[in-house]
Amino acid sequence: MKLAKYTKFREEKFGGVLFETRSEKVYSLNPTAAAVVREIAPGVDEQQVVERLKARFRDADSALEREALTFLADLRQKGLLED
């Protein structure tokens, strides 16, 4: 999966922004949401993103996994993510 064609990501001190340039909508991301977006890359699926995050952050109660999957589904639903 990858960011959609018209979606740009930029890191910021507060985390990051996703800018959908067709609609000119801006989404502000906190540091952890930005960390999820950084793991998005061609050939990487949702579960692999979670695995990469779990390698970097503690996730004893699987909250990280749930939240990351929800977040990625939200991005996909908004058209910000594509295969």
Binding site: G15, Y27, N30
Partner: protein, 340 residues
Amino acid sequence: MTPGAATDPAAAPAQQPAPPAQPAPPAETGSSDLRAPLYVAWQVTNECNLACLHCIEESGPGKAFRDELSEREAFAVLEQLMDSEVPYLSFSGGEPMVHPRFFEMAQYVCERDGQLKIETNGHYLTPESCGRLAKLGVKAVQVSMDGASRETFNRMRVRGDFDLAVAGIRRLHEAGVPVEINYSPTKFNVHEIAAAVDLAHELGAYSFYTGRTMYTGNAVKTWHLLTPSEDQYGAYFATLHEKTEEYRGRMRVYFHEMGLLEELRFRLQHPAALLIVLPNGLVKLINALPFVCGDFRRDSLSEIWANFQRGWQDPRVRCFIEELATDSHKTASLHQWVYL
């Protein structure tokens, strides 16, 4: 996890991914939190093949600024913008496609993964240029189409040719370039708005935008010919509401009913993460104000960006906007720049 916490790192637990905030225009993102603008609108030249009645830039044949950026200076600006990861640029004018380095500049932005929109009058959209724009992968080409007939279009766009612009739009679409249409209302073209939206869709546009015509630039001299009555505006926006619904899911129809004063009062509280670059490298706070917050010949992007933030707090800016409430003709002097 609250959307409002998204711009406050301290408010978000480090191990909890948070969803993005609800979509917000750059203005609502809090541009002062950003390290660089998200959008740079660059008027690459003031030269234009047309002399439109309403042109806010007073562009036209022979109207290039005497001090426009040289090729070397223009590419130095582009390099800074790309190095700073400005994700989105537009080239406008004047007519950007008459700039001698137009395609090279567009190529530079696209090759560095910037998203680029071209704002053109559509008179240079030959098969060859449409093919080049498609190959470059520009985000979109926005064509001004202020009429659904050659009578109204050609009246508004002095020296313009409706048929040439329409043919150009068709070629863009056929070449696979995303097309946006822009429409400026006047008393003699407001009645064609429904037909214009329909035509835009037929021509393959994915987006149609309009708003109130501004009292500045050439419009100051031609206002008596241009300005629609409030009744005309009422009918105009009512039609646009209907067209928005009619084309939902097929073409984005959007428009701003807000007058300039309301818009500027909003911007005062919520500056957009947007810089307006003039052909000579000066940077304006916003197009509808005369204030200049930087000069690319002298200042770095980070200095300009910092001055942009300070500029919106400047009492002269607030004062100018409030004076517009009692003197709407103040915008007539937008081209008498005030340096902040």
